[in-house]
Amino acid sequence: MTESVDRVAEKVISLVGVTKRYGDVTAAHDVTFDVYAGEFLVLLGPSGCGKSTLLRLLCGLDSVDAGRIERNGTVLSGESVCVPPEARGISLVFQDNALFPHMTVWNNVAFGLANQPKEAVAERVAEMLDLVRLRDVATRYPHELSGGQQQRVALARALAPKPSIVLLDEPFSDLDRSLRIGLREEVRAVLRSTGTAAILVTHDQEEALALGDRIAVQNDGRIEQVATPEALFGDPASRFVAEFIGATDFLAGEIASNGILTEIGALQQETDAPIGTAVEVAVRPDDVTLSPDPAAAATVVSRSFNGMSNIYRIRLPSGAFVHSLQPHTLSLADGTAVRVKVEPGHKLAYFPNHGGSP
């Protein structure tokens, strides 16, 4: 989704300055972002960063301390407002799927359609089960299904009442890796076909990059950046984002007139900081090239082989480490002296270095 389309599209959910404290812990701190119609937004962050708190606030299981949550311009949560969960039109899918064990698949999906005429319910449930390809197990009970099937039922159940948005709380993390990848593609496709906006909560950056139209990175209650996966990867707004997305190393450097000076050479790129500022440059394995050179001061510490490529861990003369992505054909023994260069072919992100060692 490009920026221009983004901004024209209709906002489904808006969070404005949302803050929530539990005792001394601020689980959500001045959180502001929008979710647009049909968008798949990923809320990404490490464990304990407050992602689940945002979900609870969104679906009205908790009230906000400050700020507001709006749906299509109507305030759901705000000062002295907390629309109860049942009246919000926001559905949830959980990690443990939370299917009702005493109901069949059919009745689970029909649960959210309680006040509708029978024929309409039957039609909608059938439609939902077709959507997730589970029509043939409609009469079974949840425990008779596989983990992936259960999660698809949970999705169908969440979509049945035509919510404005579906919240997915780490829905894939209990599943095997092979199943997980297939299922998440399917979930994504189902949501796209129904045009339902969704927020996926995850701590898995690979999942976030693969699925998100946009990603909101949360850390310690704050949203650090909201951007497309590419923008997040290429232009991280903070050191935390750079560190959290894509195995990043940080190299100490100093702003020079034509770029940044580091211990492995000068990086030619435009900068907007005063000359002489101490910075840390975010370097990813694919930015680092190396060649064996007995005279070089850097050495290979270890190699991790993952089929298509090797990732080398390299100790620089200063004691700092960087990683380098190399084809599987280049095989170097531990201890090999190597010459290291950073040749990104694009601008590297850098952050002020507050006196920390590299």
Binding site: Y22, A27, S47, G48, C49, G50, K51, S52, T53, L55, R56, C59, G60, L61, D62, S63, C82, P84, P85, E86, A87, R88, I90, S91, L92, F94, Q95, D96, A98, F100, P101, H102, F111, G112, A114, N115, A154, R157, A158, P161, P163, D169, E170
Partner: protein, 562 residues
């Protein structure tokens, strides 16, 4: 942060209301005990001097001996048999595996009078032996502490057996195999590894058995071995001195509470979890050993002996007596009317108590359910402490509580010109109240364990799908816990039916139950007549035991003190 870790109560009034309601329920349970303890602050000196100078030292000694003896017997029989049926395979093992739980259906006083009738001087055993060996045959005195302890141990061992069996089954074969690989024999492994690992369950089982022995007054009376329970009933009914009985009950309450604390200390905070047996990922259950040679028959023999002594023979004896009693046609019609009356009264009382207990347990469990409701769990623990308190003590507590309420009502009634003196004290309200206090834990544990299946996420899912809190209760909670509710009600029902001490002390005139009827007849050595009500109690009592065996767990015993 996972949803589980951050789950917090909904911002609604119902959690406040829930807390209030649970506190109220806990209050119902605690007030009688609290009032009893207050009584201790101003004891009647004369009564105490008299009690100390006469029966009290003996009663204390006997109570102590009884509990120790029953503890040792139930521990040995329970853990030993559980080990046999879990680890070894021998003829009849599959039958004994569940059949050895059946004595749980026999109340101690029924077992007591059956053994009394069989082995006493005039009983068939001694009569036969005298016929064979002459009249000067020396036979150990049956009416003794030893007799009482043996009979009760034989009746109460299933508490330990059941819990030990469950604990042994949960233990992973990996630990067991590791010990075997290090050169331990089966027996050494059992003594050094399996038993210590099952300690929490074993301590819980032995405590339950000891508490049951402590609450009994009828069996020890049959065997002429007065304990404190017997003393309370004796002082209350025989000496008609309720104040003294209440003070005695207050002291006994302290003893019971001390025992519960001792149990917690002995059990430690340890719960020895083991992965494997349950999820099947790392090793399965301990691989059974097929016994050969004389060993297999020794195992069968041991199980058979216990089963016969603790269940088959007493049940057969009761059945024969009942047939004999019923075959005397002259009394049959009259008996039928009387019998029907007792059954209806008993079942009515038990049903009311079961419904009330389960209803209140539901309130407690709803409130204790969510992980952040610490308050809810504390109130639930307080509200379920009655399981540890002897029936006679609860009767005394309920009596003074209701007497206080009656006095207030009477004062109020006089004020508007009515006269009411014993509105509650002399009615079945007191009896129901006592049953609910005593068996709340039974109901609560059933309700709670079934409610465990309802995760906070299900609540959230239901709410976001448009269900109000009330609809969540009706559409999700109740359908999911209804089997637990039914099981809890069945267990309370049977426990009420078997209950004796509180019933004897609190029953209003004309409200005698099957258990009281059994006791009265047995106390007058009318064994044959006592057999019919006793057999009724045993047969009805079997139903939940069988039900629980089928489900594979005995929630009453397993979780009463968990």
């Amino acid at each position: 942060m996972s949803a589980r870790a951050t789950a917090r109560p909904f911002p609604t009034a119902h959690s406040v209301l829930g807390n209030l309601l649970s506190l109220l329920v806990a209050g119902l349970v605690i007030v009688p005990m609290g009032l009893l303890l207050v009584r201790l602050l101003h004891p009647t000196t004369a009564v105490w001097i008299q009690l100390w100078e006469t029966i009290l030292p003996l009663m204390i000694r006997n109570t102590f001996l009884l509990m120790m003896g029953v503890g040792v017997i139930t521990f040995s029989l329970g853990s030993g048999l559980a080990w046999l049926v879990t680890v070894y395979r021998f003829p009849g093992q599959r039958f004994f595996d569940w059949a050895l739980v059946l004595p749980l259906a026999v109340p101690t006083y029924v077992m007591g009078f059956v053994y009394m009738a069989t082995f006493d001087f005039a009983g068939p055993v001694q009569t036969t032996l005298r016929a064979w060996f002459g009249a000067d045959l020396v036979f150990p005195n049956v009416r003794s502490g030893t007799g009482a302890i043996l009979v009760m141990g034989l009746t109460l061992y299933p508490y330990v057996y059941f819990l030990a069996r469950a604990a042994f089954r949960e233990q992973s074969s990996l630990t067991f195999d590791a010990a075997r690989a290090m050169g331990y024999s089966h027996t050494q492994t059992f003594l050094k590894l399996v038993l210590p690992m099952a300690r929490p369950s074993l301590v819980a089982g032995v405590t339950l058995a000891s508490l049951e022995a402590m609450t009994d007054f009828a069996t020890v009376r049959f065997f002429n071995f007065p304990t404190i329970s017997e003393g309370i009933v004796h002082v209350w009914q025989g000496m008609m001195n309720r104040d003294a009985a209440i003070e005695l009950a207050a002291v006994f309450l302290l003893v019971a509470l001390g025992l519960v604390m001792l149990e917690r200390a002995l059990r430690g905070r340890s719960r020895y979890y083991q992965h494997g047996a349950r999820d099947g990922r790392t090793g399965g259950r301990i691989t059974p050993v097929v016994l050969g040679g004389w060993r297999r028959w020794a195992a069968t023999g041991a199980c058979f002996l216990v089963f016969a002594a603790a269940f088959a023979l007493p049940a057969a004896r009761l059945a024969l007596w009942t047939v004999g009693d019923l075959s005397r046609a002259a009394t049959a019609t009259a008996l039928r009317t009387v019998y029907t009356g007792y059954v209806l009264r008993t079942f009515g009382l038990a049903a009311v108590a079961a419904v009330v207990a389960v209803g209140l347990a539901l309130v407690l469990a709803q409130n204790a359910r969510l992980p952040e409701h610490k308050m809810g769990r504390i109130t639930a623990r307080l509200a379920t402490m009655g399981y540890a308190v002897p029936g006679a003590v609860i009767a005394a507590g309920v009596l003074i509580t209701l007497a206080g309420v009656d006095r207030s009502i009477a004062t109020a009634a006089r004020w508007i010109g009515f006269n009411s003196s014993l509105l509650l004290t002399a009615s079945i309200v007191g009896l129901i109240y006592a049953y609910v206090v005593r068996f709340m834990a039974v109901a609560y544990n059933s309700v709670e364990s079934s409610m465990d299946k309802v995760t906070p996420q299900m609540d959230m899912a239901a709410r976001t799908l448009g269900a109000s809190p009330r609809q969540v209760l009706w559409r999700i909670h109740l359908p999911m816990v209804k089997i637990g509710l039914a099981a809890g009600a069945a267990l309370v029902f049977v426990d009420v039916m078997k209950e004796l001490p509180a019933t004897v002390l609190l029953m209003p005139f004309g409200m005698e139950t099957l258990s009281v009827w059994t006791y009265m007849l047995a106390a007058e050595s009318l064994w044959e007549s006592a057999a019919l009500p006793a057999l009724t109690i045993v047969v009805v009592g079997l139903l939940p035991v069988l039900l629980l065996m089928r489900v594979g767990r005995l929630t009453t015993a397993e979780e009463r003190s968990a």
